[in-house]
């Protein structure tokens, strides 16, 4: 190799490697204005859960635009949102969180669709004394000493299970089997589901676990549907649900299917992927956003989605930003350790109910006690940071559309 | 099974008895028995497909025969692993040149000496003084050998860059560092220029005078004639005829075997 080639390669690598160093010195391009309030989010844009990230980003960006458009917070300061890709990887999530905390100096690290990503980042964020908000279900996240800095905008795994059992009761299924993915979010649902089934006089005949990213799920589907249960509780993510639904259809199984919104809806992507014939008759449940409220309808409209779309994760992202700005305004500071104490103040009852963030900001400035209800949930938290009052919204796919069945809690 | 044997004779260095090796339906060796005697340069000739290279592989443990035995100074080595042969004093070169390409010429030779303590995992880290002393001693021997074959000036070059003939010399030099009693040469003349062939003849004669025995598989009859005291002719996997070179080339059976006259 001649010298010029060596110089080229070195230049390319050195240039890329110098980027992080450059940011230490070259403030202007990336830094917020001195007055901006920095917030951060770690969301999945690539990897196995990459399909859930974009909508969450869209929702978060919308809130930031609204808030900044109405004059910002803390005396006219603008909110600046930094978003990093979690790559559906715990290690990447740690690097991403570190970057947000140390380079962008954020007060909030939110997002976190996946439990492993959240669990890995938790010690990093707590060590920096910043707030972590997440949209994942694994119980472990709010266990131990959370220093009052963690808020979960999602139903815990142990709440999903009993909800599933209640759906079974509703559709009259007594003998059921479970078909579930090996995934921290899902695994923790199984035992509570079994316990609740026993309570209501039902019986779980078998629990069939499968690994993600398999080429085929035929064997597992046959095992779960073989004993001809009244219904099968199918617990997947989107990609495997698509395969499994097709297997069920091909196998001609007649047992009812109760699944989760993460797999059987995913904001419409499931129906898109399998078509109405395969999806016909599948029930699915997800923690319900306040479907009937006008603010939720507004949220759906602002997201550019058709009326009646049930957003699960985007709403959580929306709420995370709303809660943060409201708590900051209430505490009159951007410092995480201080405004975290205001979160329950602005979110929990008693107080005047409000769901529009701009209106809520004004009310706080006027000194009123508010009870913020978000686009993803009512946003009421207990001392551990878990959401309380989680009800679940049940839908049935009929004729190519999601039709509402009811709410269980 | 057992052919005429000269085992028990102190002269027998390497002997194969009734060796057979089949690959699928093809019998590469079919009851072959012959002896390489100490102190001699013995030729192994025969038409293509006679089984010469297979025999060489059997003699050095690279191939296990289906039947028969291999005896080294009377000791049964039929089942010995290939790496044992170097320790037993048998070295070989290869027909298609197989230099260790990413090693330098010098390293090729440093590799060869037996019983290097530095090849142990723990010793490589903690026994440095000992194996460094061995390296230095081996280096002197390597230098001497490289000078003898005229490759010393190329010592630090990667051996992959040598010419075909140079690689053959390297192969031979490497084999010599094993300080063997017997060297088996597999077509050393193949693809080698005439001046280099003369060089090889000179070298082999010198070494033979120093007490090294040779087995030589060759097609180049001139080379065989110049070097070999004794020649075995193989055909169709077994020994056809043995004798001096002069006798053997006149034997009608040998001529027929080479010309491929149908049986």
């Amino acid at each position: 190799m001649t010298d010029s080639f060596v110089v080229n390669r070195r230049a390319v690598v050195a240039g890329l490697g110098a980027l992080p160093l450059a940011t230490a010195f070259g403030r202007p391009a990336l830094a917020q204005g001195a007055a901006d309030v920095p917030l951060g989010m770690v969301l999945p844009f690539s990897g196995a859960t990459g399909s859930y990230g974009p909508a969450m980003k869209q929702a978060a960006d919308l809130v930031v635009a609204k808030v900044n458009g109405a004059g910002g917070i803390l005396g006219g300061r603008k909110v600046k949102l930094f978003i990093e890709d979690s790559e559906t990887s715990a290690t990447a999530s740690v690097a991403a969180s570190k970057k947000l905390l140390e380079v962008n100096k954020v007060e909030l690290v939110g997002g976190f669709w996946g439990s492993p990503e959240a669990l890995a980042a938790k010690p990093v964020i707590l060590a920096a004394n910043k707030v972590q908000m997440l949209s994942c279900a694994a119980n472990a996240v709010t266990e131990g000493d959370t220093k009052g800095l963690i808020y979960r905008l999602q139903a815990k795994s142990s709440q999903w299970g009993p909800a599933g059992a209640k759906v079974m009761e509703k559709i009259g299924a007594k003998k059921v089997t479970v078909l579930a993915q090996q995934n921290p979010f899902i695994v923790a649902m199984v035992e509570p589901f079994k316990a609740e089934m026993a309570k209501i006089g039902g019986q779980v005949m078998d629990v069939v676990m499968y690994n993600p990213d398999q080429a085929s799920y035929r064997a597992e589907v046959e095992k779960a549907f073989g004993p001809e249960p009244d219904a099968v509780f199918v617990l997947p993510l989107l990609t495997d649900m698509v395969s499994i639904a097709k297997e069920i259809f091909r196998g001609g199984f007649t047992s009812k299917v109760v699944s989760l919104g993460t797999g059987a809806d995913a904001e419409g992507k499931f129906l898109q992927a399998v078509g109405p014939e395969v999806a016909e008759g599948i029930y699915h449940l997800q923690p319900s956003p306040p479907i009937d409220s006008p603010s939720y309808a507004r949220f759906v409209k602002e997201m550019g989605a058709p009326e009646g779309t049930v957003f699960l994760f985007a709403g959580n992202a929306w709420d995370q930003v709303c809660i943060t700005v409201l708590a900051m305004e209430h505490a009159k500071t951007q410092e995480a350790a201080v405004w975290t104490k205001s979160v329950r103040e602005v979110c929990n009852p008693p107080g005047e109910k409000v769901d529009d963030v701009v209106k809520a900001l004004k009310m706080i400035r006027d000194g009123k006690k508010i009870n913020f209800n978000g686009a993803g949930c009512t946003c009421d938290f207990d001392e551990k940071g878990d959401s309380i009052n989680r009800s679940f919204y049940v839908q049935l796919i009929k004729g190519g559309k999601n039709t509402p069945v009811g709410v269980v809690s | 099974m057992s052919g005429p044997s000269t085992s028990g004779s102190a002269l027998s260095l390497l002997e194969v008895r009734g060796v057979a090796k089949r690959y699928g339906g093809l019998a590469a060796l079919d009851g072959c028995s012959l002896t390489l005697e100490t102190g001699r340069i013995t030729g192994l000739i025969g038409p293509n497909g006679a089984g010469k290279t297979t025999l060489l592989n059997v003699m050095t443990g690279l191939v296990r025969p289906d039947e028969g035995r291999v005896l080294l100074s009377g000791r049964d080595v039929t089942a010995a692993a290939p790496h044992r042969f170097a320790a037993l004093g048998v070295a070989r070169t290869f027909q298609i040149v197989r230099e260790l390409g990413s090693l330098t010429v010098f390293e090729n030779l440093l590799l060869a000496p037996r019983r290097q303590s530095g090849e142990g995992v723990v010793a490589s880290l903690f026994g440095r003084r000992k194996w460094w002393a061995e390296e230095s001693a081996n280096a002197l021997k390597a230098k001497a050998l490289l000078e003898r074959v005229g490759l010393y000036k190329l010592a630090d070059q990667q051996s992959g860059g040598l010419s075909g003939g140079q690689k053959k010399l390297l192969d031979l030099a490497r084999a010599l560092l094993l300080e063997p009693r017997l060297i088996l040469l597999d077509e050393p003349g193949a693809g080698v220029s005439p001046p280099l062939k003369l060089e090889m003849i000179r070298l082999v004669r010198e070494l033979n005078a120093e007490g090294v025995s040779f087995g030589l598989v060759e097609h180049d009859m001139h080379l065989v004639g110049e070097l070999c005291d004794h020649v075995h002719v193989m055909a169709e996997g077994r020994l056809l005829v043995s004798g001096t070179f002069g006798d053997v080339v006149k034997d009608r059976r040998v001529v027929e075997a080479y010309l491929g006259v149908a049986a």
Binding site: V6, N8, R9, V12, V13, L16, G17, A18, P20, T23, A24, A29, L30, S46, K57, I83, S89, A90, T91, V94, A95, K99, L101, E102, V103, S115, P116, L119, A120, K122, A140, Q182, N183, P184, M209 | A81, P82, H83, F85, A86, A87, R98, S102, L103, F106, E107, L110, S117, E119, G120, V121, A123, S124, L125, W131, E135, A139, K143, D156, L178
Partner: protein, 306 residues
Amino acid sequence: MIAYLITITILVCVAALVGLALNLQWGLAGLVNFGVVGFVAIGAYAAALLAPEIGWLPAMAVSAALSAAFSAGLALLAIRLEENYLAIVTIGFGEVVRLVILNEPWLTNGALGIADIPRPFAALGDAVGGDAVFLVFAVALVALAFVTLEGMARSPFGRALRAIRDDATVTSALGKNVFALRVRAFAVGGAVMGIAGALHAYYLTYIDPGQFTPIVTAYAFMAVIAGGRGSNVGLLVGAGSIMALLEGTRFLKDFITVIDGVQLSALRLGLIGVGIVLLLILRPQGLAPEPRRRTSDVLPDRTTRS
């Protein structure tokens, strides 16, 4: 910013350890190990499970020993077979390890992973603040591994491995016990991979099966190829370069506001691929050559040639 760079350097240290190990197994000895991630995972889980019971140092020793044992076992099974079979067997091994840790919750807590793994020098680390103490620990481990493996590479052991890599038949004809040498190389590499896994577990303090996917194996090969097979110095630069590419592109979205964040994420991973390809085109032999014994090293009368 410094704290972020410390994090990245620690992650490079983990990758460097894996790379150094693979450089011994594949770079020097030519053994194709496509199951690298499995050995790292064994080390990580052994450390995570045992450190709370017996302390971080004994646990790390067990990680090394266990990975070495599995490596040796696998090598004993597969190395007698033709070259390609080792690759296949190791792929299978890597997958089996991942499936076992995912599906055996009684042992590994399955998909939920293991949290609250104790860190070495935790008290000192808290006193000093940040990850600085851990950084020193990680760098020290890498330095130790480097000195050890480089020492082996420059010894007759290393030379014998390189010879086996080039041509096992010839090397065996020269009297080297090819089988034994290969098993030893594989086992030593395995031990270092186990230590890398333990270091990873100690840093993240939380491990789950999702962290041990084939991409880890791919990164290790990338670092070895970029650095130049057999060269440990090149490998360290290679591992650093890969990480610089990975993390450096993260900053692109802060500078480039024209492209949407979602698209930029996809673009970033594509850029990393392009970076690797460029490296291979511009410098296919890698960053540095493997160590060689020169005549001038051993023979006093030779002057060093340039």
